[in-house]
Structures are given as structure tokens and as C-alpha cells.
């Protein structure tokens, strides 16, 4: 790591994909460093993205660490920096510093079945784990994905999900009924209860809105998942990424450094401050 932690590396946007349009648009960006640099992130780690003149925003890396050519970020247009990112074009330059945070302990999960449960943009932070497990297929057991969004238009990674469903179990849902939708209608936790993933030799990895995570964890508990079989990734407002600026803490933990990944066994011991 360079001595000055606050100066980002420059990276070029090499591809942009519109995942979701409308009032809550999501785009996926692929970036490449201008000069060779091994970012060497772990699944679930984050990067601080810069748009010079607008500021910085902490975004989880959604591509697998197995991919060395580019970093991928799926970003919901939400605040000042993410709005600026949405206005950018291919070949535009951003700044990246990191990686930050602890990442998912995927080494410990070898041989286990993986149940991914995502809601909305919450699929992005766990997507790197899913892609890595697919890339190291013989190291892991069965993969199941339970994913939902407000409407079918809010679903991210549509083509990738289509591809994923060919060899793996994929259960999709939308919050309310809509024409032409043949899969589950209802909230993600309800779909978890409906599809009953088995806790046997399994790890559940979930991310989505805080209220969804809360009820997913409850549903998983009812299915027999133990607290240390459930993992999630938390977000809080961040500025420094290195546990100094003081705003992302949950109790004595800085989410940017000690998190963002927690097992439910760990998270339930912390104050409700996220």
C-alpha cells in the first residue's frame, strides 16, 4: 500500500451497463486502473470511488477477485457522487482507493452449500461471493439464489441470472403482483420461508434493505439456520475507509474496517446502530 492512504489511483470506465432505469436507476460499471495495480480485494470488500469535483462514495466490489482485468461496481443513483457516476461515460476517469473492510470468510466455507439471499441493489455486495463460488465450483456445494426486487424492472443482472439458473437454483420474486410474472409474489423473507433452503451443511449470505435483512435472518432461524451460519454485509455512511473519521461505527466496530461482513452471531451482539 502506498504511504498516502487518501490519494486514489486513477481508473478508466471501460463498460457501463444499465441494469435498472426509472426513478431508482442502477448501473454497473467496469473499471481498469490506468497503471498496472493489483487491487487484490477479497469478496465483500469495498472501494472508495472518486469523482473529482464531487467527492467520494464507498461501493462494494461486485466482481469476483478471480477476475484480475477489471473491477465491477453496481451503483444505485442515490446521492451526489453516485449521481455524478451515473452521468459518466465509457472512457471517463474516476479515482479508486482501497480495498477496505474484512470481506467474507469464503475459505471457511469450502465444501458447504451456499444460499444467497438478496433484495434490490443488495445483490451487488454478495455477487462477488457467488461469482467466486461458481469459479471455484468443485470447492463448494450447491448454490441457491433467492432474489427479489420491488418490480421485475428493478431486478439487476437479468442476463446473468438467466445464465445462472441453467445449472443452479434461482428463485426470483417481486413485491407486488404484475402482469406476466410467473414466479413468487411477495417479500424476500416470505420467499425464503416458501422455498425452505436446507440449513444442512449450508451457509446463508444475505444483503438488502435493513428491514429485509432483519426478517430474512428471522426466517432462516425458523428453518434451522444457526446464527453462525448466517452472514450479512452492513453499510453505514463512510468517509475515510480506515476507521478514523468516526461516522460508520456500530459500538466499537468501524464498519469500514472491522466490517462490513458479519455473521449474525457477531452482529446480534452489537448495538442496533445501522
Amino acid at each position: 500500500m502506498d504511504s498516502n492512504v487518501y490519494v486514489p489511483k486513477l481508473a478508466k470506465i471501460i463498460a457501463i451497463k444499465e441494469e435498472v432505469t426509472g426513478a431508482r436507476p442502477i448501473k454497473t460499471f467496469r473499471t481498469q486502473f490506468l497503471t498496472e495495480f493489483d487491487f487484490a480485494q477479497k469478496c465483500g470488500q469495498c472501494a472508495m470511488l472518486s469523482v473529482f469535483g464531487k467527492g467520494e462514495s464507498m461501493i462494494s466490489v461486485s466482481s469476483s477477485p478471480l477476475i484480475k482485468d477489471y473491477l465491477q461496481f453496481s451503483i444505485l443513483k442515490s446521492g451526489r457522487v453516485t449521481t455524478a457516476l451515473h452521468d459518466m461515460k465509457v472512457d471517463d476517469i474516476i479515482g479508486i482507493r482501497g480495498p477496505y473492510g474484512n470481506g467474507f470468510p469464503i475459505e471457511d466455507w469450502r465444501g458447504k452449500n451456499l444460499v444467497f439471499i438478496g433484495g434490490g441493489i443488495g445483490l451487488a455486495p454478495i455477487w462477488s461471493v457467488l461469482q467466486t463460488a461458481l469459479g471455484l465450483k468443485k470447492d463448494y456445494g450447491k448454490i441457491m439464489l433467492i432474489y427479489g426486487a420491488r418490480t421485475s424492472k428493478d431486478i439487476v443482472y437479468k442476463e446473468e441470472l438467466e445464465e445462472l439458473s441453467k445449472e443452479n437454483t434461482v428463485h426470483l420474486s417481486v413485491d407486488v403482483e404484475e402482469e406476466g410474472w410467473n414466479e413468487f409474489v411477495g417479500f424476500v423473507p416470505q420467499n425464503v420461508t416458501d422455498k425452505k433452503p436446507s440449513p444442512k451443511n449450508a451457509i446463508a449470505i444475505t444483503c438488502g434493505p435493513p428491514i429485509m435483512i432483519k426478517f430474512v435472518i428471522q426466517a432462516l432461524g425458523e428453518l434451522g439456520f444457526k446464527d453462525d451460519q448466517i452472514f450479512t454485509t452492513v453499510e453505514n455512511k463512510m468517509k475515510c475507509g480506515i476507521g478514523i473519521c468516526g461516522r460508520c461505527n456500530i459500538g466499537m466496530h468501524y464498519v469500514c474496517k472491522d466490517g462490513p461482513v458479519y455473521s449474525w452471531a457477531e452482529l446480534k451482539e452489537l448495538p442496533q446502530e445501522y
Partner: protein
């Protein structure tokens, strides 16, 4: 190394140290503040606690990280701006404020070394002044492991002995500063001098009237108080002005933002500025969700950070008992009273 310096010779010593930028407490515009001292003759070390701690010299309120120019169609240019290499001396530092810097040291070197902080820290010598009488009516350093004559964090501790200073070097840097003074300035303390200094120090501790009793109990009591309605009551009068954290010698929270000076091409600076956990938008997500949505949760954060989380992490209170937050709170929120009540919750 212990020496005696006649007060009249203080400017002479400081003039010998002209290679350093000298900061001293000065009374300007109705308040005491550490500022660059152009003329050592004018330095009088009889100040109460300065409104702001000397923290502001090591870790200024605004720090430029780098400049950027972002011309259309070309990669942005980034010019790193680090603090200069000038060596500085701060004279008249109170022991509480010196200890505060040792706490900031832990924060700014916790896995990552913050170049901006450390460049200044490593280049700044601290000459402290023991508090023969409490510089503030709200001093409570002795409650949190400090003392009015503590040497923690200092290179030299000076004690006022009337017409002379007792000067004790604590570090090699301190020795160097004394040696730079040359022969003829300092004398060696007599046995009586040493006894007198000891007496001044002992008496100074007795003059501190405010205290948190049984402070050791507090971190563990706090662990059970996260959900307590106590915080609503205590924070009721808070105006969320943030002065408590702005003046705190140990508070370190900051914001990072871009200041734009030109739109086409985009030019500007990335800056760090002090921020406070007492502001609502400090923790507010871009979605509008706020993990600390009210002043009760923000007061709780300030108290728990200083008296629980920091203790869990670094084994020390993140408070040195300077009393500034007590003296300057416009509505009288008093951390000493709050913590005494916390203790009684246990």
C-alpha cells in the same frame, strides 16, 4: 534532565530556538489561543486553558489532501499536498492537551498511518506548563488518569516557581532543546528547588475541585445502557451545535469533501475538515436512513465513544479532563455530571 531558568531569560532561550516555528498561547480578540509567536519577548506563560487545544496545530481544522485538475478528454492530474517539513515548538501546552495528542496518536496510526497528521506530529516539540492552579474551574484531569503536572506526551515540562521555571526534559528532543540554549542560561536545581517543585505539584492536585468518582466502573456500566431512556433526558436541552466536540482535544472525526474552484476544466482540492458526531447528517445515509436519528443517540455516541468504545479498543479514556466541553456548552450539558449519573446507574 532537570534545570532552572530565571523567568527573565526565557526569551533568550527561545531566541536560540529560532530554527523552529514557535507557537505560544496569546490573548487576541478576547480569547486565548495558540498562535505563532513572532517575538519571544512577549510570551507570558500565565494563560488559562486556551479556548482551543493545541491539537489544531498538529491536526488543523482544514487539511488539503491533494489538488485535482480534470480537463475534458484527458486523465485528471492529482497533486499531493503534504504538510511542509518545518520543525515547530509549541510552548505552554497544558498536560491534558499533551496527553490528548498521545490519544490521537493511537487513532492516526491504527493499521494505517495518516501522513498529514504524522508529518506535523513528528516535527513538533511540546514544551508543557504544569498547572500550579487549575486553568479552568471545570478541570478534572485527575479523574481520568492525568494530573496537572503530568509529563505524558511532552518533551519538556516547565513548572512556575515564582521568579524562575523548573524545566524538566522528558525526551531526547527535550534534551536537545535545552542544550541548544547553550551555557549560562540554565542552572542546576538545588535539593531545595526539587523539594519546592514537588510541593507545587502536590498542591496543584489538591486544587482540582471537580471529579468523576469511581470512573473505572463507567465503561462496564455503559455497556448496559445503550437502550436506556437516560440519554433522552440528558440530551433534552442539546442544541446540536457541536461545540463540545469542536473544542475537545481528543475528538478526531472528520469529513472529506471536494472544494471546486473552477468548473471548466474542473479544478479543486480534496479537503479534510473536522466534523462532529453531534450533527444529524454526520451519519445520515443518502437514502435518508439515519442510524443515529436524534440528539439522544448522538449524545450517547459522544459519551460511549469516550468512555466505553475507546477504552475497549485502546485501554484509555478518550477524555483528558480539560473541561472545555463543560465550560462552553451553551445549555450546560456537563460530562462530569452525566458520567456521575451513569456510574449510579450501575
Amino acid at each position: 534532565m532537570e534545570k532552572i531558568l530565571t523567568k527573565k531569560l526565557l526569551p533568550k532561550w527561545l531566541k536560540k530556538l529560532e530554527d523552529y516555528t514557535l507557537y505560544a498561547p496569546q490573548f487576541t480578540d478576547d480569547f486565548w489561543s495558540f498562535e505563532v509567536a513572532e517575538n519571544p519577548e512577549k510570551i507570558e506563560l500565565n494563560h488559562p486553558n486556551t479556548v482551543q487545544a493545541p491539537k489544531k496545530i498538529i491536526y488543523p481544522q482544514r487539511d488539503v489532501f491533494f489538488e485535482f485538475t480534470n480537463p475534458d478528454g484527458e486523465p485528471p492530474e492529482i497533486k499531493e499536498i503534504l504538510p511542509d517539513d518545518n520543525a515547530s515548538i509549541i510552548i505552554g501546552v497544558r498536560p491534558c492537551d499533551a496527553k490528548a495528542l498521545t490519544l490521537l496518536d493511537k487513532v492516526f496510526n491504527d493499521g494505517y498511518k495518516d501522513e498529514y497528521y504524522w508529518k506535523r506530529r513528528d516535527n513538533t516539540a511540546l514544551i508543557g506548563l504544569a498547572c500550579s492552579t487549575p486553568p479552568s474551574p471545570n478541570c478534572f484531569c485527575t479523574s481520568v488518569g492525568g494530573s496537572p503536572h503530568a509529563k505524558t506526551g511532552l518533551d519538556i515540562l516547565m513548572t512556575d516557581m515564582g521568579d524562575r521555571y523548573h524545566i524538566e526534559s522528558v525526551t531526547k528532543t527535550g534534551d536537545k532543546l535545552i542544550n541548544t540554549g547553550g551555557k549560562g542560561l540554565f542552572t542546576n536545581p538545588t535539593a531545595k528547588d526539587k523539594k519546592d517543585v514537588q510541593h507545587i505539584h502536590d498542591e496543584s492536585e489538591k486544587k482540582i475541585t471537580r471529579a468523576i468518582k469511581d470512573v473505572k466502573k463507567i465503561p462496564s456500566v455503559l455497556t448496559g445502557m445503550f437502550e436506556s431512556p437516560f440519554w433522552d433526558e440528558e440530551a433534552m436541552s442539546c442544541l446540536r451545535c457541536g461545540i463540545c466536540t469542536f473544542l475537545c482535544p481528543t475528538c478526531h472525526c472528520f469529513d472529506i469533501s471536494d472544494e471546486v474552484t473552477s468548473i471548466s476544466p474542473v479544478k479543486g482540492q480534496r479537503v479534510r475538515t473536522w466534523d462532529t458526531c453531534q450533527f444529524p447528517d454526520f451519519t445520515m445515509h443518502s437514502s435518508g436512513h439515519n442510524p443515529r436519528p436524534d440528539k439522544a443517540s448522538r449524545l450517547r455516541q459522544r459519551i460511549m465513544h469516550k468512555y466505553q468504545y475507546f477504552v475497549e479498543k485502546f485501554g484509555e479514556y478518550q477524555c483528558t479532563g480539560c473541561g472545555r466541553c463543560v465550560s462552553k456548552c451553551p445549555v450546560g450539558i456537563d460530562i462530569i455530571e452525566v458520567l456521575n449519573k451513569v456510574r449510579d446507574h450501575g
